[in-house]
Symmetry: C2
Subunit: 226 residues, 2 copies
Amino acid sequence: MPMDMTAEHTLPALQKRPRGRPRKSDEDRGDGNRRGELLRSAARLFRRKGFGGTSTRDIAAATGMRSGSPFYHFESKQALLYAVMDEGMRSAISKQAAAMQQAACPGAGSSRGLAPVAQLRALIRNHFDILLGHGNDFIPVMLYEARSITRSQRAALAHLQGEYEAPWIPVLESLREGGLLKADVKIARLLIFGALNWSVQWFDRRKGASLDELTEQAMQLFTGTS
Amino acid sequence: MPMDMTAEHTLPALQKRPRGRPRKSDEDRGDGNRRGELLRSAARLFRRKGFGGTSTRDIAAATGMRSGSPFYHFESKQALLYAVMDEGMRSAISKQAAAMQQAACPGAGSSRGLAPVAQLRALIRNHFDILLGHGNDFIPVMLYEARSITRSQRAALAHLQGEYEAPWIPVLESLREGGLLKADVKIARLLIFGALNWSVQWFDRRKGASLDELTEQAMQLFTGTS
DNA sequence: CCTACCGATCGGTAGG
DNA sequence: CCTACCGATCGGTAGG
Protein backbone atom coordinates (compact mmCIF):
# COMPACT_ATOMS: atom_id res chain seq x y z
CA MET A 1 0.00 0.00 0.00
CA PRO A 2 1.61 3.23 -1.06
CA MET A 3 -0.32 5.27 1.49
CA ASP A 4 1.83 5.49 4.56
CA MET A 5 -0.06 7.92 6.71
CA THR A 6 0.61 9.54 10.05
CA ALA A 7 1.48 7.90 13.34
CA GLU A 8 -2.19 7.96 14.29
CA HIS A 9 -2.42 4.38 13.12
CA THR A 10 -0.47 3.27 16.12
CA LEU A 11 -2.58 5.12 18.68
CA PRO A 12 -5.41 3.44 20.59
CA ALA A 13 -8.67 3.73 18.72
CA LEU A 14 -10.70 5.18 21.60
CA GLN A 15 -11.81 8.76 20.88
CA LYS A 16 -8.65 10.27 19.47
CA ARG A 17 -8.83 13.76 20.93
CA PRO A 18 -8.61 16.36 18.19
CA ARG A 19 -6.10 19.09 18.87
CA GLY A 20 -7.04 22.45 17.45
CA ARG A 21 -10.05 21.87 15.27
CA PRO A 22 -12.10 18.71 15.63
CA ARG A 23 -12.01 16.55 12.52
CA LYS A 24 -15.24 15.48 11.00
CA SER A 25 -15.08 11.78 10.27
CA ASP A 26 -18.40 11.46 8.50
CA GLU A 27 -19.78 14.12 6.26
CA ASP A 28 -23.52 13.69 6.32
CA ARG A 29 -24.44 12.60 9.82
CA GLY A 30 -24.33 14.22 13.22
CA ASP A 31 -23.67 17.92 12.67
CA GLY A 32 -23.81 17.26 8.93
CA ASN A 33 -26.96 19.26 9.43
CA ARG A 34 -25.08 22.54 9.45
CA ARG A 35 -23.08 21.42 6.48
CA GLY A 36 -26.30 20.82 4.61
CA GLU A 37 -27.59 24.25 5.58
CA LEU A 38 -24.39 25.78 4.28
CA LEU A 39 -24.82 23.94 0.99
CA ARG A 40 -28.36 25.19 0.58
CA SER A 41 -27.47 28.79 1.40
CA ALA A 42 -24.50 28.65 -0.92
CA ALA A 43 -26.56 27.21 -3.76
CA ARG A 44 -29.14 29.94 -3.41
CA LEU A 45 -26.58 32.73 -3.35
CA PHE A 46 -24.36 31.32 -6.08
CA ARG A 47 -27.40 31.08 -8.27
CA ARG A 48 -28.66 34.57 -7.55
CA LYS A 49 -25.37 36.46 -7.52
CA GLY A 50 -22.86 34.17 -9.14
CA PHE A 51 -19.81 32.53 -7.61
CA GLY A 52 -17.59 35.59 -7.89
CA GLY A 53 -20.36 37.85 -6.68
CA THR A 54 -21.01 35.87 -3.52
CA SER A 55 -18.73 36.22 -0.52
CA THR A 56 -18.17 33.49 2.01
CA ARG A 57 -19.43 36.04 4.54
CA ASP A 58 -22.75 36.22 2.65
CA ILE A 59 -23.04 32.47 2.88
CA ALA A 60 -22.11 32.37 6.54
CA ALA A 61 -24.64 35.09 7.39
CA ALA A 62 -27.40 33.34 5.44
CA THR A 63 -26.71 30.23 7.49
CA GLY A 64 -26.52 32.09 10.79
CA MET A 65 -22.80 31.65 11.22
CA ARG A 66 -19.83 33.96 11.67
CA SER A 67 -17.56 34.73 8.78
CA GLY A 68 -14.88 32.15 9.52
CA SER A 69 -17.13 29.21 10.22
CA PRO A 70 -17.81 27.93 6.70
CA PHE A 71 -14.13 27.01 6.60
CA TYR A 72 -14.69 24.51 9.37
CA HIS A 73 -16.90 22.56 6.96
CA PHE A 74 -15.19 23.30 3.65
CA GLU A 75 -11.56 23.81 2.74
CA SER A 76 -12.26 26.74 0.48
CA LYS A 77 -14.97 28.68 -1.25
CA GLN A 78 -14.32 26.65 -4.38
CA ALA A 79 -14.68 23.38 -2.48
CA LEU A 80 -18.06 24.63 -1.33
CA LEU A 81 -19.08 25.36 -4.91
CA TYR A 82 -17.95 21.94 -6.01
CA ALA A 83 -19.86 20.30 -3.17
CA VAL A 84 -23.02 22.07 -4.30
CA MET A 85 -22.58 20.72 -7.82
CA ASP A 86 -21.67 17.24 -6.69
CA GLU A 87 -24.63 17.03 -4.35
CA GLY A 88 -26.89 18.37 -7.10
CA MET A 89 -25.77 15.73 -9.58
CA ARG A 90 -26.05 12.83 -7.14
CA SER A 91 -29.52 13.90 -6.15
CA ALA A 92 -30.54 14.30 -9.79
CA ILE A 93 -29.26 10.84 -10.69
CA SER A 94 -31.15 9.16 -7.89
CA LYS A 95 -34.36 11.06 -8.65
CA GLN A 96 -34.09 10.07 -12.28
CA ALA A 97 -33.56 6.43 -11.42
CA ALA A 98 -36.70 6.49 -9.28
CA ALA A 99 -38.70 8.20 -12.03
CA MET A 100 -37.62 5.62 -14.59
CA GLN A 101 -38.55 2.75 -12.33
CA GLN A 102 -42.04 4.18 -11.95
CA ALA A 103 -42.42 4.75 -15.70
CA ALA A 104 -41.32 1.21 -16.54
CA CYS A 105 -43.74 -0.69 -14.31
CA PRO A 106 -47.23 0.49 -15.36
CA GLY A 107 -46.61 -0.01 -19.05
CA ALA A 108 -44.85 -3.36 -18.66
CA GLY A 109 -47.62 -5.30 -20.31
CA SER A 110 -48.70 -2.70 -22.84
CA SER A 111 -47.72 -2.26 -26.46
CA ARG A 112 -44.03 -2.22 -27.18
CA GLY A 113 -44.27 0.79 -29.54
CA LEU A 114 -45.49 3.18 -26.90
CA ALA A 115 -42.68 2.57 -24.45
CA PRO A 116 -39.98 4.95 -25.72
CA VAL A 117 -42.44 7.85 -25.96
CA ALA A 118 -43.57 7.27 -22.39
CA GLN A 119 -39.98 6.94 -21.28
CA LEU A 120 -38.89 10.18 -22.90
CA ARG A 121 -41.88 11.90 -21.36
CA ALA A 122 -40.87 10.60 -17.94
CA LEU A 123 -37.28 11.72 -18.43
CA ILE A 124 -38.26 15.19 -19.56
CA ARG A 125 -40.86 15.63 -16.85
CA ASN A 126 -38.34 14.60 -14.20
CA HIS A 127 -35.70 16.86 -15.69
CA PHE A 128 -38.04 19.86 -15.46
CA ASP A 129 -38.69 18.95 -11.87
CA ILE A 130 -35.00 18.88 -11.06
CA LEU A 131 -34.44 22.20 -12.81
CA LEU A 132 -37.54 24.10 -11.78
CA GLY A 133 -38.89 22.55 -8.59
CA HIS A 134 -38.67 25.10 -5.85
CA GLY A 135 -35.58 25.09 -3.70
CA ASN A 136 -33.69 23.28 -6.43
CA ASP A 137 -30.78 25.65 -6.89
CA PHE A 138 -28.10 22.99 -7.03
CA ILE A 139 -28.43 22.01 -10.66
CA PRO A 140 -28.83 25.56 -11.98
CA VAL A 141 -25.60 26.41 -10.16
CA MET A 142 -23.90 23.46 -11.77
CA LEU A 143 -25.16 24.45 -15.19
CA TYR A 144 -24.07 28.06 -14.98
CA GLU A 145 -20.93 28.12 -12.85
CA ALA A 146 -18.88 25.34 -14.42
CA ARG A 147 -16.08 27.75 -15.30
CA SER A 148 -15.39 28.45 -11.63
CA ILE A 149 -14.21 24.95 -10.73
CA THR A 150 -10.94 23.29 -11.62
CA ARG A 151 -10.41 21.12 -14.63
CA SER A 152 -10.24 17.96 -12.56
CA GLN A 153 -13.37 18.86 -10.65
CA ARG A 154 -15.06 19.40 -13.98
CA ALA A 155 -13.89 15.98 -15.11
CA ALA A 156 -15.39 14.37 -12.01
CA LEU A 157 -18.68 16.10 -12.62
CA ALA A 158 -18.62 15.11 -16.29
CA HIS A 159 -18.54 11.52 -15.14
CA LEU A 160 -21.70 12.03 -13.11
CA GLN A 161 -23.30 13.84 -16.02
CA GLY A 162 -22.55 10.86 -18.21
CA GLU A 163 -24.32 8.69 -15.68
CA TYR A 164 -27.30 11.02 -15.77
CA GLU A 165 -27.48 11.11 -19.55
CA ALA A 166 -27.04 7.37 -20.05
CA PRO A 167 -30.73 6.41 -19.83
CA TRP A 168 -31.63 9.02 -22.44
CA ILE A 169 -29.56 7.47 -25.18
CA PRO A 170 -31.40 4.17 -25.79
CA VAL A 171 -34.70 6.02 -25.55
CA LEU A 172 -33.67 8.51 -28.20
CA GLU A 173 -32.29 5.72 -30.37
CA SER A 174 -35.60 3.86 -30.19
CA LEU A 175 -37.45 6.98 -31.20
CA ARG A 176 -35.08 7.59 -34.04
CA GLU A 177 -35.55 4.05 -35.31
CA GLY A 178 -39.29 4.40 -34.97
CA GLY A 179 -39.18 7.56 -37.08
CA LEU A 180 -40.42 9.84 -34.31
CA LEU A 181 -37.08 11.57 -33.88
CA LYS A 182 -35.76 12.99 -37.10
CA ALA A 183 -32.34 14.28 -36.06
CA ASP A 184 -29.03 12.60 -35.34
CA VAL A 185 -29.22 11.16 -31.83
CA LYS A 186 -26.04 12.72 -30.49
CA ILE A 187 -26.84 16.22 -31.66
CA ALA A 188 -30.52 15.82 -30.78
CA ARG A 189 -29.54 14.99 -27.22
CA LEU A 190 -27.45 18.14 -26.93
CA LEU A 191 -30.15 20.31 -28.45
CA ILE A 192 -32.86 18.77 -26.27
CA PHE A 193 -30.87 19.24 -23.07
CA GLY A 194 -30.29 22.82 -24.12
CA ALA A 195 -33.96 23.45 -24.66
CA LEU A 196 -34.76 22.01 -21.25
CA ASN A 197 -31.86 23.55 -19.34
CA TRP A 198 -32.57 26.98 -20.71
CA SER A 199 -35.95 26.94 -18.98
CA VAL A 200 -34.28 27.98 -15.72
CA GLN A 201 -33.76 31.36 -17.39
CA TRP A 202 -37.40 32.06 -18.22
CA PHE A 203 -39.68 29.73 -16.34
CA ASP A 204 -41.81 31.43 -13.71
CA ARG A 205 -43.55 29.08 -11.31
CA ARG A 206 -46.12 31.75 -10.47
CA LYS A 207 -47.45 32.17 -13.99
CA GLY A 208 -47.58 30.49 -17.36
CA ALA A 209 -47.57 26.81 -18.08
CA SER A 210 -47.27 24.01 -15.55
CA LEU A 211 -44.44 21.52 -15.70
CA ASP A 212 -46.87 18.99 -17.15
CA GLU A 213 -47.90 21.31 -19.96
CA LEU A 214 -44.29 22.21 -20.59
CA THR A 215 -43.46 18.54 -20.88
CA GLU A 216 -46.25 18.00 -23.40
CA GLN A 217 -45.09 20.91 -25.54
CA ALA A 218 -41.52 19.67 -25.47
CA MET A 219 -42.68 16.21 -26.55
CA GLN A 220 -44.62 17.76 -29.42
CA LEU A 221 -41.68 19.85 -30.51
CA PHE A 222 -39.14 17.04 -30.47
CA THR A 223 -41.19 14.02 -31.52
CA GLY A 224 -44.45 15.39 -32.93
CA THR A 225 -46.32 13.24 -30.42
CA SER A 226 -47.34 13.54 -26.84
CA MET B 1 -27.26 74.63 -27.80
CA PRO B 2 -27.74 73.41 -24.28
CA MET B 3 -24.16 72.27 -24.02
CA ASP B 4 -22.27 75.11 -22.47
CA MET B 5 -18.89 73.63 -21.94
CA THR B 6 -15.72 74.89 -20.37
CA ALA B 7 -13.72 77.97 -21.24
CA GLU B 8 -11.74 75.81 -23.66
CA HIS B 9 -13.96 77.15 -26.41
CA THR B 10 -12.32 80.51 -26.11
CA LEU B 11 -8.80 79.14 -26.33
CA PRO B 12 -6.95 78.80 -29.63
CA ALA B 13 -7.82 75.49 -31.22
CA LEU B 14 -4.27 74.25 -31.41
CA GLN B 15 -3.85 71.26 -29.09
CA LYS B 16 -6.32 72.15 -26.37
CA ARG B 17 -4.58 70.84 -23.31
CA PRO B 18 -7.03 68.88 -21.23
CA ARG B 19 -6.98 69.77 -17.58
CA GLY B 20 -8.08 66.98 -15.39
CA ARG B 21 -9.73 64.51 -17.63
CA PRO B 22 -10.55 65.31 -21.25
CA ARG B 23 -14.21 64.83 -22.03
CA LYS B 24 -15.15 62.45 -24.75
CA SER B 25 -17.88 63.98 -26.87
CA ASP B 26 -18.50 61.04 -29.17
CA GLU B 27 -18.35 57.44 -28.13
CA ASP B 28 -17.46 55.48 -31.22
CA ARG B 29 -15.12 57.61 -33.25
CA GLY B 30 -11.65 59.02 -32.75
CA ASP B 31 -10.16 57.23 -29.76
CA GLY B 32 -13.31 55.13 -29.64
CA ASN B 33 -10.77 52.62 -30.78
CA ARG B 34 -9.51 52.07 -27.26
CA ARG B 35 -13.05 51.89 -26.03
CA GLY B 36 -13.73 49.11 -28.49
CA GLU B 37 -10.60 47.28 -27.40
CA LEU B 38 -11.76 47.52 -23.81
CA LEU B 39 -15.13 46.08 -24.77
CA ARG B 40 -13.53 43.15 -26.55
CA SER B 41 -11.15 42.38 -23.70
CA ALA B 42 -13.96 42.67 -21.18
CA ALA B 43 -16.22 40.38 -23.19
CA ARG B 44 -13.53 37.72 -23.40
CA LEU B 45 -12.73 37.86 -19.71
CA PHE B 46 -16.31 38.09 -18.51
CA ARG B 47 -17.08 35.04 -20.56
CA ARG B 48 -14.12 33.02 -19.37
CA LYS B 49 -14.09 34.00 -15.70
CA GLY B 50 -17.47 35.56 -15.05
CA PHE B 51 -18.27 39.12 -14.07
CA GLY B 52 -17.46 38.70 -10.40
CA GLY B 53 -14.34 36.72 -11.21
CA THR B 54 -12.88 39.37 -13.49
CA SER B 55 -11.19 42.45 -12.07
CA THR B 56 -11.08 45.77 -13.83
CA ARG B 57 -7.30 45.40 -13.54
CA ASP B 58 -7.50 42.18 -15.58
CA ILE B 59 -9.39 44.04 -18.26
CA ALA B 60 -7.02 46.98 -18.24
CA ALA B 61 -3.99 44.69 -18.51
CA ALA B 62 -5.53 42.72 -21.38
CA THR B 63 -6.02 46.01 -23.21
CA GLY B 64 -2.53 47.30 -22.42
CA MET B 65 -3.71 49.94 -19.99
CA ARG B 66 -3.02 50.78 -16.36
CA SER B 67 -5.49 49.87 -13.69
CA GLY B 68 -7.31 53.18 -13.47
CA SER B 69 -7.74 53.79 -17.16
CA PRO B 70 -10.88 51.79 -17.91
CA PHE B 71 -12.71 54.32 -15.76
CA TYR B 72 -11.87 57.02 -18.25
CA HIS B 73 -14.07 55.18 -20.74
CA PHE B 74 -16.69 53.67 -18.45
CA GLU B 75 -18.28 54.92 -15.27
CA SER B 76 -18.06 51.60 -13.52
CA LYS B 77 -17.34 47.95 -13.99
CA GLN B 78 -21.06 47.33 -14.30
CA ALA B 79 -21.40 49.98 -16.99
CA LEU B 80 -18.70 48.13 -18.90
CA LEU B 81 -20.63 44.88 -18.59
CA TYR B 82 -23.79 46.55 -19.78
CA ALA B 83 -21.98 48.11 -22.73
CA VAL B 84 -20.76 44.66 -23.77
CA MET B 85 -24.30 43.32 -23.71
CA ASP B 86 -25.79 46.32 -25.48
CA GLU B 87 -23.17 46.22 -28.20
CA GLY B 88 -23.71 42.47 -28.57
CA MET B 89 -27.45 42.83 -29.03
CA ARG B 90 -27.21 45.70 -31.51
CA SER B 91 -24.71 43.81 -33.58
CA ALA B 92 -26.86 40.68 -33.47
CA ILE B 93 -29.95 42.56 -34.58
CA SER B 94 -28.21 44.11 -37.55
CA LYS B 95 -26.62 40.84 -38.59
CA GLN B 96 -29.99 39.14 -38.42
CA ALA B 97 -31.63 41.83 -40.53
CA ALA B 98 -28.95 41.37 -43.19
CA ALA B 99 -29.36 37.59 -43.13
CA MET B 100 -33.12 37.86 -43.54
CA GLN B 101 -32.79 40.21 -46.46
CA GLN B 102 -30.52 37.72 -48.20
CA ALA B 103 -32.87 34.82 -47.49
CA ALA B 104 -35.89 36.71 -48.81
CA CYS B 105 -34.54 37.66 -52.25
CA PRO B 106 -33.52 34.35 -53.89
CA GLY B 107 -36.80 32.61 -53.10
CA ALA B 108 -38.99 35.56 -54.04
CA GLY B 109 -40.40 33.87 -57.10
CA SER B 110 -40.43 30.30 -55.83
CA SER B 111 -43.21 28.33 -54.17
CA ARG B 112 -44.92 30.00 -51.27
CA GLY B 113 -44.88 26.86 -49.10
CA LEU B 114 -41.12 26.62 -48.91
CA ALA B 115 -40.54 30.11 -47.63
CA PRO B 116 -41.03 29.66 -43.89
CA VAL B 117 -38.72 26.63 -43.83
CA ALA B 118 -36.01 28.57 -45.62
CA GLN B 119 -36.56 31.52 -43.34
CA LEU B 120 -36.28 29.48 -40.17
CA ARG B 121 -33.14 27.89 -41.54
CA ALA B 122 -31.65 31.31 -42.20
CA LEU B 123 -32.58 32.52 -38.72
CA ILE B 124 -31.09 29.47 -37.04
CA ARG B 125 -27.95 29.52 -39.15
CA ASN B 126 -27.41 33.18 -38.38
CA HIS B 127 -28.07 32.61 -34.69
CA PHE B 128 -25.41 29.91 -34.55
CA ASP B 129 -23.04 32.30 -36.23
CA ILE B 130 -23.69 34.98 -33.64
CA LEU B 131 -23.26 32.52 -30.81
CA LEU B 132 -20.37 30.43 -32.06
CA GLY B 133 -18.46 32.51 -34.57
CA HIS B 134 -14.98 33.10 -33.24
CA GLY B 135 -14.40 36.27 -31.29
CA ASN B 136 -18.12 36.51 -30.59
CA ASP B 137 -18.06 36.71 -26.82
CA PHE B 138 -20.59 39.50 -26.51
CA ILE B 139 -23.76 37.46 -26.78
CA PRO B 140 -22.54 34.60 -24.58
CA VAL B 141 -21.78 37.21 -21.92
CA MET B 142 -25.25 38.64 -22.28
CA LEU B 143 -26.81 35.21 -22.02
CA TYR B 144 -24.92 34.16 -18.93
CA GLU B 145 -24.35 37.31 -16.88
CA ALA B 146 -27.80 38.88 -16.88
CA ARG B 147 -28.01 38.70 -13.09
CA SER B 148 -25.09 41.12 -12.74
CA ILE B 149 -26.82 44.14 -14.26
CA THR B 150 -29.54 46.29 -12.73
CA ARG B 151 -33.22 45.74 -13.23
CA SER B 152 -33.54 48.78 -15.49
CA GLN B 153 -30.56 47.73 -17.56
CA ARG B 154 -32.17 44.34 -17.94
CA ALA B 155 -35.37 46.00 -19.07
CA ALA B 156 -33.51 47.96 -21.74
CA LEU B 157 -31.87 44.79 -22.98
CA ALA B 158 -35.19 42.96 -22.96
CA HIS B 159 -36.43 45.55 -25.41
CA LEU B 160 -33.58 44.77 -27.78
CA GLN B 161 -34.18 41.07 -27.32
CA GLY B 162 -37.77 41.58 -28.31
CA GLU B 163 -36.56 43.27 -31.45
CA TYR B 164 -34.29 40.34 -32.17
CA GLU B 165 -37.00 37.75 -31.61
CA ALA B 166 -39.67 39.56 -33.60
CA PRO B 167 -38.84 38.04 -37.01
CA TRP B 168 -38.99 34.54 -35.56
CA ILE B 169 -42.62 34.76 -34.55
CA PRO B 170 -44.37 34.97 -37.96
CA VAL B 171 -42.04 32.28 -39.27
CA LEU B 172 -42.90 29.91 -36.45
CA GLU B 173 -46.60 30.71 -36.87
CA SER B 174 -46.45 29.85 -40.56
CA LEU B 175 -44.77 26.57 -39.77
CA ARG B 176 -47.33 25.81 -37.12
CA GLU B 177 -50.18 26.49 -39.56
CA GLY B 178 -48.46 24.38 -42.18
CA GLY B 179 -48.25 21.49 -39.71
CA LEU B 180 -44.47 21.40 -39.64
CA LEU B 181 -44.26 22.75 -36.09
CA LYS B 182 -46.27 20.73 -33.64
CA ALA B 183 -45.88 22.71 -30.45
CA ASP B 184 -47.41 25.93 -29.18
CA VAL B 185 -45.57 28.81 -30.84
CA LYS B 186 -44.73 30.73 -27.68
CA ILE B 187 -43.30 27.76 -25.82
CA ALA B 188 -41.67 26.40 -28.96
CA ARG B 189 -39.82 29.68 -29.39
CA LEU B 190 -38.47 29.49 -25.84
CA LEU B 191 -37.45 25.87 -26.20
CA ILE B 192 -35.82 26.47 -29.57
CA PHE B 193 -33.82 29.44 -28.33
CA GLY B 194 -32.74 27.32 -25.40
CA ALA B 195 -31.56 24.53 -27.66
CA LEU B 196 -29.56 26.98 -29.75
CA ASN B 197 -28.21 29.13 -26.91
CA TRP B 198 -27.01 26.10 -25.00
CA SER B 199 -24.63 25.30 -27.83
CA VAL B 200 -22.16 27.82 -26.46
CA GLN B 201 -21.62 25.35 -23.63
CA TRP B 202 -20.65 22.37 -25.74
CA PHE B 203 -19.82 23.43 -29.28
CA ASP B 204 -16.17 23.05 -30.21
CA ARG B 205 -15.15 24.78 -33.40
CA ARG B 206 -12.14 22.50 -33.73
CA LYS B 207 -14.08 19.25 -33.91
CA GLY B 208 -17.50 17.84 -34.53
CA ALA B 209 -20.18 19.23 -36.76
CA SER B 210 -20.02 22.44 -38.77
CA LEU B 211 -22.51 25.23 -38.22
CA ASP B 212 -24.25 24.15 -41.43
CA GLU B 213 -24.66 20.59 -40.22
CA LEU B 214 -25.80 21.82 -36.84
CA THR B 215 -28.42 23.95 -38.53
CA GLU B 216 -29.68 20.98 -40.55
CA GLN B 217 -29.99 18.81 -37.46
CA ALA B 218 -31.83 21.54 -35.60
CA MET B 219 -34.25 21.91 -38.50
CA GLN B 220 -34.85 18.16 -38.48
CA LEU B 221 -35.43 18.11 -34.76
CA PHE B 222 -37.86 21.00 -34.68
CA THR B 223 -39.71 20.65 -37.98
CA GLY B 224 -38.89 17.18 -39.29
CA THR B 225 -37.65 18.83 -42.51
CA SER B 226 -34.44 20.36 -43.66
C1' DC C 1 -18.13 26.88 15.64
C1' DC C 2 -16.50 31.83 17.45
C1' DT C 3 -13.01 35.66 18.03
C1' DA C 4 -9.75 38.24 16.20
C1' DC C 5 -7.05 39.01 12.76
C1' DC C 6 -3.88 39.16 8.30
C1' DG C 7 -2.29 40.17 3.70
C1' DA C 8 -4.06 40.74 -0.75
C1' DT C 9 -6.96 42.58 -3.85
C1' DC C 10 -10.68 45.19 -5.33
C1' DG C 11 -13.49 49.19 -7.56
C1' DG C 12 -12.88 53.63 -7.96
C1' DT C 13 -10.89 58.61 -7.71
C1' DA C 14 -7.92 63.08 -7.63
C1' DG C 15 -5.02 65.37 -10.24
C1' DG C 16 -2.40 66.04 -13.93
C1' DC D 1 -4.71 57.84 -20.32
C1' DC D 2 -1.02 57.49 -16.24
C1' DT D 3 0.44 57.93 -11.27
C1' DA D 4 -0.51 57.35 -6.86
C1' DC D 5 -3.55 56.34 -3.75
C1' DC D 6 -7.83 55.24 -0.57
C1' DG D 7 -11.25 52.70 2.04
C1' DA D 8 -13.64 48.52 1.82
C1' DT D 9 -13.93 43.93 1.38
C1' DC D 10 -12.29 39.51 0.52
C1' DG D 11 -10.71 34.46 1.36
C1' DG D 12 -8.65 32.29 4.72
C1' DT D 13 -6.25 31.09 9.38
C1' DA D 14 -4.58 30.59 14.44
C1' DG D 15 -6.14 29.40 18.52
C1' DG D 16 -9.36 28.17 21.53
